[in-house]
Symmetry: D5
Subunit: 147 residues, 10 copies
């Protein structure tokens, strides 16, 4: 057994039972973004969170243990994603990458925006011309250290 088996069982059960990530997240007690990433094999659960997921998805004790093991992260099968929705995000990095770099350096100096001390919030932004996906990313700025 490995983490991937647990992820597949969670997804299968979700389809079969017609669950929603948002509802799963409420029972786990974290945001829907973090909780979904956990269920998709990218984050690490506490014993309580594993138990909560165990109840929802019918996971065995061993499967719950796997949720508490830090996974080998990276959720995409290719360097350039083929799925159109995910590709658009890759395209944003490709087209705006140097722009993002310039503006963060202009404001903060040399360093990075953390992808670890990081949160994300995805919501619907109503718009008469067609609703929009509204995403807030928040990452701690980490300055390069001189030594």
């Amino acid at each position: 057994m490995n983490r991937n088996d647990v992820t597949e069982k969670i997804i299968s059960t979700k389809v079969a039972k017609g669950l929603k990530w948002e509802d799963v997240a409420k029972k786990v007690g974290q945001s829907k973004e973090w909780t979904t990433a956990l269920c998709l094999g990218q984050m690490t659960a506490t014993p309580e969170q594993a138990k909560a997921l165990g109840k929802i998805f019918g996971l065995t004790a061993e499967e719950q243990k796997w949720l508490q093991v830090v996974p080998y992260k990276g959720s995409l099968p290719t360097q350039v994603p083929t799925d159109p929705l995910i590709y658009r995000w890759y395209e944003i990095v490709s087209v705006y990458g140097t722009t993002i770099k310039e503006l963060i350096h202009e404001e903060f100096g040399d360093g990075i925006m953390s992808a670890i001390d990081f949160s994300m919030d995805i919501t619907r932004e109503p718009d008469p011309k067609g609703d929009r996906v509204h995403v807030v990313l928040s990452g701690k700025f980490l300055p390069y250290k001189q030594y």
Copy 2:
């Protein structure tokens, strides 16, 4: 001459004169995000915007014309970016890609978040534990059409 020559001249002049993107944007009359992307060869200027940039960076009439030509977009030299700041964004797509996909589909159904009818806003989020980079992405949701 090509667009790349104009981009390099803009960057060189910016370093030599010690300009800031934010100030350039004010004179162009657009956001700092869009204006920087324009200067870095990813967006297309109107004649007025090209003229404004021409004044700031000392561009010839021909160079201003190139700013009005739609460029071949994509600002990164490799499929997986090597620069740490830009890589962190690639990592967000890699780690959270399937999560983003799940949550947008849960809210909107099948479709994508546009990277064309799209805007981005990067600001400093003060935080006692260390300031954060706060980014808002807004992209129109485009549903897949059945036919």
Copy 3:
């Protein structure tokens, strides 16, 4: 179980029963292009469409549910397709890519032709020198937004 299992079952059944995509499409009530893409795991069905396919291909209730889940899209196993028919399309993009770009920008300005709000129609074009494949692609033009 996953979507891929459903796709394989559909294809297997189609070969075993000697079905035609055109007939499947009529029962689904959409074009043969969209319906085939759905059956090959690239589009998302409504419950009615899933039921219709369920009848044709003998799918279980759970398999029908998978047809209603948005799939991870991308139907080809390699970046450059090896199949000669599909490669010719890749070659059109390779040889004519910059031409297509120039002409759409000349007519519409900066933006893209959508691959989401998009339809395709493939028909036989009789020709005494040898029949031709006649394809009509129609994609909404999406202008780049300034902000």
Copy 4:
């Protein structure tokens, strides 16, 4: 000197003089699609066509000769195009590739749609919900030969 030098001169002159591909095509006496591909280094000119282009873009006799040499074709710098407009076409091949294959084989049997005995027509399709790019592709069907 090589063909690429001629292509760059043509593009540079076009920007400097503000020419349109459609007008160039009329003087060459072919469609705007084929003529643009010729100017972008993908097709081969007759002496008359080379002369016509020579007049428009101020090409020397040697440069006109290069237009009559069959070029090494392929207009894109990477296997997966980074430019959003061209990427959408790559995405159509990626998402619909197997669908296109199935439907052409269903209608014609084993073989390919030629990318050589081929024509393309790109026009604006007015639409109250936003104009569309309308593309017609026509390629001779070539059946696989048994021997």
Copy 5:
């Protein structure tokens, strides 16, 4: 079941029974080159050919049907083949590719040598210094169309 399963069964049976491709081809009634490509999953059989192969390799009715489905072509697991015999052919394309291009264009003008309306004949060429592999390739010339 898919075409690959049929290919593997054919190869397994061939090894177990000690058959020769040349004899298989005679019973199919086509050349040994085309017939081998068919058996290796690259070509499409008529019902009669499928039946003939069914007898030789003990294929079920469903397996025979799969032989009549146009396969996803491409027989090699990597872009650059690792097998020394096949690599030598890749090397011929690599070393002589531009030569082949020049000479075909010199004789025929712009266009290609078809790999669809194509035949191949491989024979032994006796030679006192060591026998040679003698290969004849014949492909229809297809001129690029102006439009």
Copy 6:
């Protein structure tokens, strides 16, 4: 100076003077296939051959010396060639690669067809349905040695 400079000078001069490879080959005293490969930087000349080419293309003594240096071979800029004519040859290797392997082994046993002790002959094959490119490849069979 390097071999590539000499190749480019030869090609440039050929276009400017309107020469044909077939005529060049006659003056060199070898086949048009080998001579073209030599001119394109893939083969090594004798002093006499270098002198003959020197006369035709106006090469200096040093440039003639470079023709006598064994070149770093490989004439294509990418692993998978983008040029349609050369790609068709790559496709032949991809689709027929395992077939070629099977048939040569069936006739000769384990070993390869040499690409070094090798010759190629490209001619026009008149055909009422459209002339064909007729290619003869002849390579010595080299058996794998046991030891």
Copy 7:
């Protein structure tokens, strides 16, 4: 002018003058590791550091300004480094990568060792069986945030 030009000038001058990185670092007032990375185009200088380097390497005012611009980082020309010394480090990541991951997670839980808030110290470790390279890496542990 760009940062790469400054890096090349620094390296050229270092060879011509026979300087040592350790001595350069003393004048810059930082460790030899950080200072070398700065000179090789990977770090960002303060105005004082740029001035100090300006004196040592004879840099103009504009070149000194480039040292203060955050560079596009990544010092290697290929994904897998070809240089044997650098490859050994890549090999350590390849062979010990999962080991490093397991042990850091065992000690710290889910998170990463920062490559930004990071320092490195390379020294000679005398050893009778052959001196050793002794490297100390120190990176802040950053825990994954739940939200």
Copy 8:
């Protein structure tokens, strides 16, 4: 059975039993770094070490034999690792690679730091601003031999 099966069994058992690498290492009698690498399929055990691991993880005699076979090394599924923790190490090689090369050559001359006669020690470095991962790498310097 192969080494990979043994590795998977060890990892599965470790999760199920909640073991720690440090404790495993004590029973094996080697460092936690080397022992973990052994368990993850990168190193080769002596019969005694295999027996010790056999007791801990319930390995059969045959599985213990596989631990004594030199494995095909390399623990990562992609050239550029996707896991954030391991990527940071790849980034260190990418950003500091040329720096490391310069400083080792400055101290030792031409040669490499061995990754074979090599050891690694990973510990927690307490720090009021946040604990740090402290890593010591020690590799024998091997000078290039002249001959």
Copy 9:
């Protein structure tokens, strides 16, 4: 069944029985280098050799037949090998490749050293400073043919 299954069975049996390649080779009657390559799926056996291996490894009649089928060669899973021992050989080709090319051409003229009419001998070379691996490679020189 395929050749790979036979290879895996041979390796499994070798580990379980604790056999040595050298002893296997003696019973096959060929060198240990060629025999090991045969057992690892790279060479082709005669019926007698297959029978000898059958006895040693307990192979069925069908498995022995597979040893007599010419295999698809290439023993490594990636273009650049990750295993340190094999990588060193890749590194020798990378670092010394152009040197080897220059010296063989200086001695023999244009052509190659055959990897088919080829033998290899690996032995221990005792050395007080540490024993060495001594390898002799012998390949027939094949001159490029002019035609």
Copy 10:
């Protein structure tokens, strides 16, 4: 100036003067293998060796200094070499890689054959059936260290 410029000058001069590597090596006082690798930019010279090469190839004092700088090694432009002579060596690694690994481990245990403490000797082996290239590789065995 960089090392590559020096390499190109050496090669250019060698062609222009018609020198042989063997004679160059004698004046440098090392083997022809090591000396050629030095001249091709892969090894590092002592001041005396640099001076000797300076005399032969007319190198300036600065160019001689570059010969004494440890180069960034790796002499090939692609991961899989396209040149047929060098490719045959890559093929040896590909086909015999696992064999070499097995036999060295059988004789020496876990470890590698050094490519640093390494020498190579290439000679002509006269043979009535065609002369052979005879190569001796000698690399120190380095055992993996337990710790």
